[in-house]
């Protein structure tokens, strides 16, 4: 068929121009070979999602780790407060007066277990100066999580049993916040509240730089006065709120302490009788 030959010849004349071919090659080179974008988009997506989840994980983890859930307040004259996270590690050390600030700066207690941190603290050379003369040490544990704070309290009591003149309390976080607002450590704030009840007329500033022994003496003195003035009135609600636990049979101050307890605890009982 003649037409068939013509048709073939006609189509034979049609060629893809060199420009068309090289454009297509360039296009493939730019979009496929240069970037290799098929595997990379997948990799990039994976990397982005991995980075995001890592970020969330880290943020959550560090929130859990760096948020204190309980506080141990250490008062001698220097007032220190240790923030304890849920893994029983010390995550913050705050000094509430000048001596406490110095101690907090010089000691490295962070990220230790709280029992270890307390041991290090009481064994420290600088601390020894304050602990001379059988000074009282008051440890106050406070936290939102009751089981954790009672556990801490127990551990602290047992690990401190070898030390003399160590007194342990526990309390709730509400009072802790009041204490922080007042710029005092928790142990001292509690003592101040007791003094307020005894009408001692002592300001927070004065309390801040007194040693715990001095404060205890004051409490003792005022409660004695009050007892003499009004032997039948119960002035001990506050002391009963905070459960005191003298740990050792050390002489002077714990005698005081015992007598205080007698004064308050038994007083109420005799009233009942």
């Amino acid at each position: 068929m003649e037409n068939k030959e013509k048709l073939k010849a006609a189509f034979d004349q049609v060629h893809a121009g060199d420009a068309l071919k090289s454009n297509t090659k360039n296009y493939l080179f730019e979009h496929v070979y240069k970037k290799g974008h098929v595997p990379r988009t997948f990799l990039r997506r994976f990397a982005v999602s991995a980075a995001c989840s890592l970020l969330v994980f880290l943020a959550g983890g560090s929130y859990l780790f760096f948020t204190p859930t309980a506080f141990i307040s250490v008062d001698v004259n220097p007032s220190l407060e240790l923030g304890i996270n849920r893994f029983d590690r010390v995550v913050s050390v705050t000094g509430y007066n000048e001596d406490g600030q110095n101690l907090a700066d010089n000691l490295s207690l962070k990220y230790l277990n709280y029992a270890e941190a307390l041991k290090n603290l009481l064994a420290d050379e600088e601390m020894e100066v304050y602990l001379a003369d059988n000074a009282d040490v008051v440890l106050t544990v406070a936290g939102d999580n009751e089981s954790q704070s009672s556990e801490i309290l127990q551990n602290v009591e047992s690990s401190m049993s070898e030390h003399e003149n160590v007194y342990c309390h526990s309390s709730n976080t509400e009072e802790l916040h009041h204490a922080h607002d007042a710029g005092l450590s928790f142990g001292k704030y509690q003592s101040w509240e007791i003094l307020q009840d005894l009408d001692a007329g002592i300001s927070l500033e004065e309390i801040q730089d007194m040693t715990m022994t001095e404060i205890r003496d004051l409490i003792w003195k005022y409660s004695q006065e009050k007892f003499q003035e009004n032997p039948m009135s119960g002035d001990s609600e506050n002391m009963e709120d905070s459960q005191e636990c003298p740990l050792d049979g050390s002489q002077d101050s714990s005698d005081e302490e015992n007598s205080l307890k007698h004064l308050h605890g038994h007083h109420g009982q005799s009233e009942d009788e």
Binding site: N3, L7, F11, A16, V32, V38
Partner: protein, 162 residues
């Protein structure tokens, strides 16, 4: 994925075929360029190995025809008018066989592929039916009607020429 060497070999080898099919369906250069990019991108990303070069050629033809159809039925194209169709352009360089070419191009779209594959690529009706995914008898019918239409067109041209 195929290597760059394979891609440029395929472009050199099948470029003319793709261009001819594009010419059957499309009217301007930029669309042809689009089809070239689509077809050879698909070729490069196409993982399976071809049984033979014949298989490869058939695959290229199939992909090109589909790409042309896709381009023609796209929404943008159906609602707009290319600038080329408004501006009067000098046609393809005149040649001895331009009348035949014109006659083929003026055929209804459904006959073009069959006529091209049968007369130029010299595929059998059975092969065409596989490439176009059509029944063999359908291919015969399309072929016959296409041939008739082509014949009348060419006779018309001849008469005009005379």
């Amino acid at each position: 994925m195929r290597s760059e060497e394979e891609a440029s070999r395929a472009i050199d080898l099948y470029g003319d075929t793709v261009k001819r099919i594009c010419m059957l369906h499309l009217k301007n250069y930029s669309d042809t360029e689009d089809i070239f990019q689509t077809v050879f991108l698909k070729y490069v990303l196409h993982a399976p190995v071809f049984d033979s070069s014949e298989h490869e050629r058939a695959w290229i033809i199939r992909v090109t025809i589909n790409a042309c159809k896709d381009l023609l039925k796209s929404f943008f194209r159906s609602r707009t008018l290319p600038l080329d169709s408004i501006i009067e352009k000098p046609g393809e360089p005149d040649s001895d066989y331009s009348d035949v070419l014109e006659a083929v191009l003026s055929l209804p779209p459904k006959y073009k592929d069959v006529v091209y594959l049968y007369y130029y690529e010299e595929y059998s009706a059975a092969e065409i039916s596989r490439i176009l995914h059509k029944n063999v008898n359908t291919v015969y019918t399309l072929l016959n009607r296409g041939r008739q239409a082509l014949k009348t067109k060419l006779e018309e041209v001849d008469e005009h020429g005379k």
